[in-house]
Symmetry: C2
Subunit: 303 residues, 2 copies
Amino acid sequence: MYPILTVGSVAFDSIKTPCGEASRVVGGAATYFSVAASFFTDVRMVAVVGDDFTEEQMRVFSGRRIDLTGLQRVSGETFRWKGEYSVDCNSRETIYTHLNVFDQFRPVLPESYRSTPFVFLANIHPALQLEVLDQVRAPRFVAADTMNYWIEGTPDELGQVIGRVDALVINDTEARELSGESNLVKAARAIQRMGPALLVIKRGEHGVLVTRDRGFFAAPAMPLEKVSDPTGAGDTFAGGFMGFLASAAEITDTVITRAIIAGSALASFSVEDFGLDRLLRLTPDELRDRFAEFKRLTHFDAL
Amino acid sequence: MYPILTVGSVAFDSIKTPCGEASRVVGGAATYFSVAASFFTDVRMVAVVGDDFTEEQMRVFSGRRIDLTGLQRVSGETFRWKGEYSVDCNSRETIYTHLNVFDQFRPVLPESYRSTPFVFLANIHPALQLEVLDQVRAPRFVAADTMNYWIEGTPDELGQVIGRVDALVINDTEARELSGESNLVKAARAIQRMGPALLVIKRGEHGVLVTRDRGFFAAPAMPLEKVSDPTGAGDTFAGGFMGFLASAAEITDTVITRAIIAGSALASFSVEDFGLDRLLRLTPDELRDRFAEFKRLTHFDAL
């Protein structure tokens, strides 16, 4: 089992979905990622919060295997985001994004973080992702997320990141835009040629598509009767996936497919309630049961 | 192994996709269904063609386990359809639909068809689907397809059909419209309450979602580098699914899941070339290999 380092946002989210609303709840990619990954391994977080982030709000991290040595607390307001989802929760509109203290954020890795063998660069400016990579020593496995904003706005820096990672964890729209290919198979091949041997394409309610040495692996999303809030589902998936990988002795195809299911299981819980609420009360037994449910959902006997 | 009866359209299709064009090729739901199902069992077809349907064109059925006793040949032109697909092949526009001889079609079952144990009612007017059901004697298993046009236009007759079938094989848009539920799990439950114990929801490039006694089964579509022509993929899937079911001694959950994969495998071939071309040159060995590929695509080891 190896510890995992992550860099990304910690935020206050305000969320409106067809199921209800939540105001100023703790969110952010690094938060969802860390809580999810901590089900499987020790997490070291690099992020920033303002002085409005209270002890009460810090409790989302407490009692978990999350090292906060790298969490900077600076004067000013914490990153704030507000989003509103469509009726079927498959699309959302950003009402506002206030970067606040995140605007001046420069990731600084404490000495105790620098030899972390697993690294996940959540969706932030690729220049910052590169700064993190420059501070870690010979990592075993590095993965990154990104978004259309960086694909369009900073393609050169993003290209450098992609050339230095073992895995890219992005959604299908991003994969198509990054590669310029509308066919996902061709998109995957094109992105692999840019660097990462492993490409994980998130397809929301349609699950995940993964490249492996011996061909694609596809996992459906768990069919859910109620999706309360999709916020953070992708970061939760990434946390479960990377946390599971880091918890294994070796990265084999078997481990990769199980890690995909672990991430999918965590994400399927995450959306059941607002913000982090469902993840925070999730038990290891429930997670194991959901993993077994995925097996029942997808299993068929060979001919 | 049981024979299967199907009723539906035989047509001349003109198709334009990003990969090319085909003009006046043999198509129609009953055609795709029958060719696919005949990989697994004997098929009895009820349909109509005009006197422009040549011996040459009849060859798509020859050398296969397809009984054409119920194929009516009448004076006039065969049903013609022309469609054009979007760049990603996920949507299409109908350029024209000329019903021609199909307009006056009334399904008449030859005496030799009336005790067929498996029945598939392809997407035609629900009144005609009911006429077929009135002519068959105590079938073991009946399934139907339908479309938005009948859901909106003839809800009462469609409701009677749905109340008399064991399975409904429709796409996700149709499932949502039929049930009035945007959530697919709720949609599935609502449709099951209308009659069919088994609901098969086709999701195109995202695969298939199925209700079973012990919960959902989800199968992805095979990721394909090239989709030449999606025409008939849904009917091919239905043919493979129903043909496989009919070829089994008993309908168990294990058989249902394998039948879903059999249908998915056939559909994945169908889209590789225009019209029926790929299906017509498909070998049983290739089909078995694709089935095994689906196993590799989806398999993961339990924890």
